[in-house]
Assembly symmetry: C2
Homo-oligomer: 342 residues x 2
């Protein structure tokens, strides 16, 4: 069973995936590269993954058979396990609990070589719809405090298989990053009675210099204090706290925006590895029985997607401080991305 | 002039090093590798670095000439600049200030190929002494809130030159990582009137299962909630808040411990890239005129060194949550490191 452990100094939770049990010799000298050859995510190889949790299928095809468009399966090597209870315990200054959670893989298409940015918009809509549906389903499990949907593209960004896929991890504690964002949003609201994210989006739209693209419903911004070159913040223009509430109509606008952003990144930066992830409101806030901690449910968060091309490395200074050194001004990055011809 | 920018959502400061001005074509497809050939840090090439700030020299040799043992020079491509004032300004929801700070390189030896773990202990003592002396010097500058001393070893850990060197960056704001550690230490003290770090070290010494080594003055621990496989926390066994106060006698013990830890890492993990960094008390706490924020100067921090072999990558989940997945239990890591024959 993996274990969640808490560091009393940084207050960070860590997953000790001891079952993966990597010994000194198990770490390759070079960066992993995606292995060629057999692909368990390709159509026809459904038996090589754990049984599917959800799928969008052509009429008449049965579960774990060919004939699917999008398929969700448990991760074969999960960081967290779905069974069991948390068994929280203190050990002196330390704290631990069982590594209970969910770890799912969303296989985005049967086509092994189809880049997400080349998908037809209607196919991308189906992927986004299944992200939403998995979120709506998992929010009901009281053991889970947060559900992260994310994508690693390229071996250097952590993708161990090249077949197009995204992932979902449900954790039994609210991650520090989210707690921080929620606290900022709450403080801003208590002071100004406005959403911090809405204010930021409004300011960026007025200035325009960091806007990468904007459609009726979504805006993509190179953040003023970008950590990484060509980092992008993609958010609904109008206030909404939860990705779980996205409508099918909104999904169409999101698919259009996401596809265009990814196309611009590929063209401008020569198909770089990237990570993206969805930040939505933690579960505890959307369940009927709420804690008293938050009393302003309508305004306390604004869901968004963070996209991070992996162009620079992280070294001692970044690990030591949480500060980042970014060699490309976001105004320049936005201009390059805006002006590249598609 | 580089610029410091503040993100209102994550509350993180970022250095926008716009003078480095990297365009889309400037990012290599593959990881950087250390270039071979000419080395500006080698003896005889003193004119190829900016003029030295400090050095330990053989009798009779002059500044910026051969005849040195350790040499400190400004970074030729600094992330922050020493000249100027901060000019703090708000821009709507954003905040910025000039990128004022110090960025120095400590050239640890004239020998191009000498690994830090192969240095004679007396030479390593000189490196540590010059770290301390630079810290003592820079603490006096009221513009600097924090000074980070760190080392990147190996191209994959961010070292752009292979000649043995460490770095120092002084920042005009206290980094988030340090604020977090100080807050944890303060809360623990207010509750228990004891140092959190002292409690943690005591608990680990009693258990023993995560101890890598221990001498009269220093202890190396695989942290209970290690983020990375084979991560190490190296700290003085007895309470001290500032690395600036380390005595020459203590430096001897630190050199012995650091050398042994690095030897064990190299032998056990086949000479991996690594980062290490020193966490000491922020400047504002050690200047005669203190803020009122802290009133328990004796107990509010316990300086330490964090050593991180770079064996695994960081992907979407880590960026999205601040959570880490560590595939090697620290108890196992400590055992491997303890038992490897040197």
């Amino acid at each position: 069973m993996p274990e969640l452990r808490h560091d009393p100094i940084s207050k960070r939770w860590v997953i000790i995936a001891s079952e993966r049990g990597r010994r000194p010799d198990d770490f390759p000298k070079q960066a992993d590269t995606t292995p060629a050859g057999f692909c368990p995510f390709c159509e026809g190889n459904e038996s090589k993954t754990p049984p599917e949790i959800a799928a969008i299928r052509y009429n008449g095809s049965g579960p774990n058979q060919p004939g699917w468009k999008v398929r969700v399966v448990p991760n074969k090597f999960p960081a967290l396990r779905i069974e069991g209870n948390l068994d929280r315990r203190g050990l002196g200054v330390h704290d631990r609990m069982n590594g209970v959670g969910a770890h799912e893989v969303i296989i985005e298409t049967p086509k092994h070589d189809l880049n997400m940015c080349d998908m037809p918009v209607s196919d991308l809509e189906q992927v986004i719809r299944i992200w939403r549906d998995r979120l709506v389903d998992l929010v009901r499990d009281n053991r889970f405090k947060y559900i992260l949907i994310f994508k690693n593209y390229g071996a250097a960004a952590g993708a161990s298989l090249s077949h197009p896929h995204s992932q979902l991890i449900a954790t039994p504690v609210t991650p520090l990053t989210l707690t921080g964002e929620l606290t900022s949003a709450k403080e801003h609201y208590h002071e100004k009675e406005r959403c911090l994210f809405c204010d930021l989006i409004q300011q960026e739209l007025e200035s325009g210099e960091r806007i990468v693209l904007c459609n009726d419903q979504f805006v993509a911004i190179a953040p003023f204090a970008s950590r990484f070159p060509f980092e992008i913040f993609l958010a609904p223009r109008y206030h909404n706290h939860s990705f779980a509430e996205i409508s099918d109509a909104m999904i169409r606008h999101l698919a259009l925006a996401l596809k265009e952003v990814l196309l611009r990144i590929r063209k401008c930066l020569n198909d770089p590895p990237y990570n993206f992830l969805i930040h939505t409101i933690p579960n505890v806030k959307v369940r009927p029985k709420r804690t008293s901690y938050w009393d302003t449910i309508e305004v306390d968060f604004h869901w968004h997607i963070e996209i991070m091309p992996r162009l620079t490395g992280i070294a001692g200074f970044e690990w030591g401080t949480g500060f980042y050194i970014n060699p490309t001004a976001p105004e320049e990055a936005a201009k390059y991305l805006r002006e590249i011809e598609l």
